[in-house]
Point group: C2
């Protein structure tokens, strides 16, 4: 219910062990983990890390443009380590998220000009059915 203003006075970042290991999670391409996903995975390496630390670091890393915050059709927030311009498709059945390269798309920011806003960027998410769920649907129909 409250609105948290983004503070522009970002202090210097320290590369702690926790922060480094969280960031390493994003070196594997094609993943779009939730904060909880990240928490669960890094607990192997850092058994005592707290979920709050994960949340704080993901926010800081995304402000530092090292990862990208996504807020799409799914329930939880997600983060993306992909550096290249790309979009996402989410399967409406199983929730699977895949990347779609943005090469074949025109410059959407440019197309959006002229409506009173200075355009800074955009997020585009497609909804659809993945191959697996499409197959499952077909076999059900044919029963």
């Amino acid at each position: 219910m409250k609105f948290k203003p983004p503070d522009d006075t970002v202090p210097l970042l320290r590369m702690t062990r926790q922060r480094r290991i969280i960031l390493e999670e994003f070196h594997t391409p094609g993943r779009h983990p939730t904060p909880d996903d990240v928490y669960m995975r890094i607990r192997r390496k850092l058994p005592n890390i707290s979920l709050g630390t994960v949340y704080r670091n993901l926010e800081i890393l995304s402000q530092a443009k090292l990862i990208k915050k996504l807020r799409l059709g799914c329930r939880q927030r997600r983060y993306d380590g992909g550096l290249h311009r790309h979009y996402h498709v989410r399967c409406v059945k199983c929730g699977k998220i895949s990347d779609i390269p943005a090469d074949s798309f025109p410059d959407l920011d440019d197309t959006a000009k002229g409506h009173g806003f200075k355009i800074l960027g955009h997020q585009l998410e497609f909804e659809g059915l993945c191959q697996a769920c499409r197959k499952a649907g077909r076999s059900q129909k044919g029963r």
Copy 2:
């Protein structure tokens, strides 16, 4: 942490007083209220309505395609009564959301084909600075 499967066995809808008044909120164009926004506004007309009822109805109305569920960069879920194809810009400073007509954009669903998904639709949100926040920023820089 759980994943709620969408149920396809939707029963008949009854147009209750509550549901009708919630739906009326979406006849005013250009609004993108959160569930709480809707709750606050309709309490004038329905002082005893519960927030749970609002949540349930917004979900049902969006499944019935009478309104559209948005999940964008902002913290809370939002719903949109706009019938025409359009996108959104959100001001990164103040959170204001405006519509952008989709006429000048190409068929994005078509462009997204060929990556293993059957594309059903998409959501596109731009981020930017609204006129008011742009002015405020300029006067600050020049201080």
